[in-house]
């Protein structure tokens, strides 16, 4: 049994995401918490994982945490500095693409793991405008496994996206394949309350794990749509070792953890 450590929601999210990364994975990372999850995986459970960025840097040293994927900090000590087109080709190409796991965020997610990072409201007359796809749509199209980081809130887990930016399982069943996509898209959702995955057959989200102190019911209350909670089990809490490495090795200055 794991000892009873105290930790913040951000810490448990980071560690849960890190556990999704296997040794040897090529990790497509953004900045902030996704960067931290990638670093945590490398230091805890996946020493041979490789971090790369859509801007074209592969396996950068990252002595300081970058604040953007175009931060000069990612250009130092990389294996190669390539072009934007090369970075996306690495994921579109099945030989390398199938080894990639991506970490994404979004303003909205639906039951099929489709993501919206474009706008709230009608596209022609939006109420809120976000940054847009960036590489999100490309990554969700190409990569077999994507981790979505989300805050678990009703307005974010919605019945219908205001705009479908990045394809998940589309409308379930074979719709992803029928649309012309290879298998992939968001395969796991890591929130401040628990971990959701997607049913192989139906393509629908289900609750896989709930965090200590959180009930499946509480998770349902924080979503606009209903998901299957029958398979849900308690998550193994972060271990002492995981927390220690995360805090002391990955973000000693608490640039992201705070």
């Amino acid at each position: 049994m794991a000892s009873k450590e105290s930790y913040t929601p951000r810490e448990i999210m980071t560690i849960m995401a890190a556990r999704e990364i296997n040794d040897g994975d090529i990790v497509f990372s953004g900045t902030g918490i996704s960067m931290l999850a990638a670093t945590a995986a490398k230091n805890i459970n996946a020493p041979n994982s490789v971090i790369f960025f859509e801007t074209g840097a592969m396996d950068s040293l990252l002595e300081e945490l970058p604040f953007a994927v175009a931060d000069p900090r990612i250009m130092y000590w990389a294996a190669a500095n390539a072009r934007l087109t090369d970075a996306f080709a690495t994921m579109q190409n099945r030989i390398t693409g199938d080894r990639v796991i991506a970490i994404l965020g979004a303003a909205q997610i639906d039951i099929y793991g489709n993501l919206n990072t474009t706008c709230i409201g009608d596209y022609d007359s939006p109420k809120v405008r976000f940054s847009g796809s960036g590489g999100g749509c490309d990554v969700a199209s190409f990569v077999p496994r994507c981790i979505a980081f989300m805050q678990h809130e009703k307005r974010k887990f919605v019945r219908k996206l205001d705009y479908l930016t990045s394809p998940g399982q589309l409308c379930g069943q074979n719709s992803r394949e029928d649309a012309g996509l290879r298998p992939g898209g968001v395969s796991v959702v890591v929130t401040n309350l628990g971990i959701m995955r997607f049913d192989q057959e139906s393509g629908e989200m289900y609750l896989d794990k709930f965090y200590p102190g959180i009930t499946p019911q509480k998770i349902l209350e924080n979503m606009e749509f209903e998901i299957n909670i029958k398979k849900a089990v308690p998550a193994d809490p972060p271990t002492k070792k995981e927390l220690q490495i995360l805090r002391d090795v990955c973000d000693p200055q608490r640039l992201i953890l705070d």
């Binding site: 604040f67 099945r94 939006p126 490309d138």
Partner: protein, 325 residues
């Protein structure tokens, strides 16, 4: 006599000559890195408007141009500026207020569109975007597309794979080429003929330059031809693609230029704060853009202290342990 191979001119003359109202323009860099800021501020000072702007992921330059009402149409994948503004503020506002017409693509699609332009083909294929609204929801009307020969008649298209399901794809998305009237990039080193050497990531600058009818290069260092010939492997754009070269040290400021200086996060934060409020934003513009006659005066206003604080460490290429927020 000036040699025909000498393309050096002052920035203000270059903008005058190549950037006209209504021009289709693309700018290099990515979010807070290597944006051609000196050129962008000069465009704003000259009150050039009605630009049709093409970018993939942009931040600092994009939001300054939009904030100055220089842009009427925008094709883009991502408008964000790192930690200071995860979504660009004047950009988002302009979309909400319908001050600009926007067409959304993904980052790979925009990069491929520049690449198609550079290659001289009408389109390039990708497997990205099936099932997404990027394919189905258009920002530009058919009428608008029809009225400008520089625009394709469709936002994008889906084609059957003529080789069956060879390559594991029964169909592909094809995205139309971009050939801007003018592209502006900021690089570390260029010579008087226009050959460019970019240090660190090149983003899509090479493709943007090669796709463009005219190219303005601003550079940190204007070097002798000989300095660039010692290692041609480090020169990404040969001079034949370049229209003119402007020597503008700190021409990327307040964005980062790898090996020379870091982004100025205090400037980016100040900009983001001002951008949230129309009055404050006007005051910001009056002080930092219209209140100076050129980039040199702008840098004087910013002050040597801040420029020193972001100076890049020669080993890592960024400002080690710089205070960031």
């Amino acid at each position: 006599m000036k040699k025909t191979s000498d393309k050096v001119m002052p920035l203000t003359a270059a903008i005058e000559k190549y950037v006209h109202p209504g021009a289709h323009i693309s700018i290099g860099g990515f979010t807070l890195n290597r944006n051609p800021m000196a050129a962008i501020y000069e465009i704003i000072r000259k009150k050039i408007d009605n630009l049709h702007l093409y970018v993939h992921s942009n931040g600092t330059g994009l939001d300054e141009l939009i904030g100055a009402n220089a842009v009427s149409k925008l094709e883009i994948a991502y408008g964000g500026n790192g930690k200071a503004a995860p979504t660009c503020i004047r950009f988002a506002q302009a979309v909400l207020k319908k001050e600009i017409l926007i067409e959304d693509y993904s980052n790979y699609m925009m990069s491929l569109r520049f690449m198609a332009g550079a290659m001289g083909v009408p389109f390039l294929p990708t497997l990205s975007g099936f099932g997404s609204q990027i394919l189905t929801t258009w920002g530009f009307s058919r009428k608008m597309r029809k009225n400008d020969p520089r625009l394709a008649n469709e936002k994008l298209a889906v084609l059957d794979n003529p080789f069956g399901d060879f390559g594991g794809a029964g169909k592909v998305v094809v995205v139309p080429a971009i050939n801007p009237d003018i592209t502006i990039i900021h690089v570390q080193k260029a010579d008087a003929m226009g050959t460019c050497s970019i240090k660190g990531l090149t983003f899509a600058d090479i493709e943007q330059a090669k796709a463009s009818r005219h190219v303005i290069v601003t550079c940190e260092e204007l070097v002798q031809k000989e300095d660039l010939r010692h290692n041609p492997d480090l020169n990404q754009i040969p001079f034949i693609h370049i229209s003119c070269v402007c020597h503008v040290p700190f021409g990327g400021y307040p964005t980062a230029v790898y090996g020379y200086y870091d982004y100025d996060s205090s400037y980016l934060r100040m900009f983001a704060n001002a951008a949230k409020d129309d009055k404050k934003f006007k005051a910001y513009q009056d002080e930092y853009i219209f209140g100076v006659k050129d980039h040199g005066q702008f840098l004087e206003k910013v002050g040597q202290d801040r420029l020193s604080a972001i100076k890049a460490d020669p080993k890592t290429g960024y400002a080690v342990n710089m205070k960031r927020s």
